[in-house]
Symmetry: C2
Subunit: 259 residues, 2 copies
């Protein structure tokens, strides 16, 4: 078993740090079914033998898997495999276009509006601007294989929105357009809730008013910590599921009463 890990370690691209290589080899061994949930990973000493790495480096690789929720560790006891669904990179989580393509569907967008106006104080607060400042707001319908599945209400600070006015937002992704101007997204906060469709959204989604929508509000930050987008995606309830994994060793999900 430790031989399988060592073999995989030897097959991973040597241009990456050793601890990343080993984490990848372990991840692949788990994904292959050779290690099942509840099974024990090789210990530090065995992994050191199989890879020629120092113990600190081995520990770092295992710590990476722990932070991903793949394994569980306990002092004195062998590290064990946890079960988890497939997750996705942040970029894919953010971008409707990337997500649709990853699942083999044809993404589409229909622009409803892109205007400069002021927004309500809660959104202004999220974007860290004054209540009366102007922002660029956009409404788009997002389609999968021609079927409307989501209405997106997004707000951008002036300097960000200005980069988008000339972009083709029916064919491409906001984030791709921003990346062309050197703006990279780094993190986001999501707020998830269930709402009843109002008349305008219902019409855009070809559904009855009152139909349940999964509401996904999001504030997205650039790598310098400034907010670059506040969006409010309203998905047809029958079009999406969100998966999340959590463990006592790391949880990025929280429940609260509404504001």
């Amino acid at each position: 078993m430790v031989k399988a890990v060592g073999k995989r370690y030897g097959q991973v691209d040597q241009g990456v740090p050793a601890h990343v290589r080993l984490a990848s080899a372990l991840r692949d061994t788990i994904a292959s079914g050779e290690l099942l949930p509840g099974d024990l990973l090789p210990g530090d000493a065995a992994l050191m033998d199989a890879t020629g790495l120092a113990r600190g480096t081995v520990r770092q690789a295992v710590a990476t898997l722990r932070a991903e929720g793949l394994v569980q560790t306990r002092q004195g006891a062998r590290t064990s495999v946890l079960q988890r669904p497939r997750l996705q990179p942040f970029s894919e989580l953010l971008s409707f276009t990337a997500w649709a393509r990853q699942q083999g569907a044809n993404p589409g967008a229909r622009m409803v509006e892109l205007v400069r106006r002021s927004v309500d104080p809660a959104v202004a607060h999220e974007l860290r601007i004054g209540d009366n400042d102007l922002v660029w707001t956009m409404v788009r319908v997002r389609l999968l294989d021609g079927v409307p599945v989501m209405v997106e209400h997004a707000a951008y600070p002036e300097r960000i929105g200005a980069l988008l006015v000339d972009a083709d937002l029916e064919a491409g992704s906001v984030y791709a357009a921003l990346a062309e101007h050197g703006i990279e997204v780094a993190s986001g906060h999501h707020r998830i809730s269930a709402i009843a469709a109002e008349a305008a959204d219902a019409e855009l989604l070809r559904a009855r008013p009152g139909t349940p929508l999964l509401r996904q509000e999001r504030t997205v930050f650039a790598s310098d910590g400034t907010p670059i987008e506040h969006s409010d995606d309203r998905w047809r309830g029958d079009s999406i599921v969100l998966d999340a994994v959590n463990s006592v060793q790391g949880s990025q999900l929280a429940r609260r009463a509404p504001d």
Copy 2:
């Protein structure tokens, strides 16, 4: 600024590992507002001076904050603060009772049924039992300050359910009851979607059929990796918001099309 960190480090309980202490001191410094999003943390050398710790230990504390999504790091550049909402421990995320109490509300439960029966194949699969095996299934209404906010449909493998039949599940928490028998929860998978209330759930929640519900399905695993619960919580849409944080350095949330 680094003095503030050093002072906080000195105030943290010495019974915990040094890297945990430092991570806590840094977390508190950020939470206090002394470090704002975009601000730079002191570098390794300054933190070493302020705390007397080795560089490896300092790096480990910073890596902890990075995994939590609190800070962003980049080779050669100073570590910077990211913005994030308050999150909650896993135990609080899982337990309605703990969550309600944490927010100062009075939790309640009304048992609808607790019976042994077989369940549909998808649930059987999640619990890793045969399609015709019997499980304990439970339906409860959960109340906050006497108001019904959630209907919980839960399924337990026989050996787990058997521990619950004698517990007072209107007054207390399933997880607390299991913990009394040495069963500790370790991780979970969540699936989040929006649905329309069926007649039975609507009646229990005192809402109209068709009203939007936030559906939170969950499979919970014990520390040995075995599934101990499959639950399907249906929350009134107006009673709950789920917060999640994500970054390019770690994301535990994923979007997919429904099965």
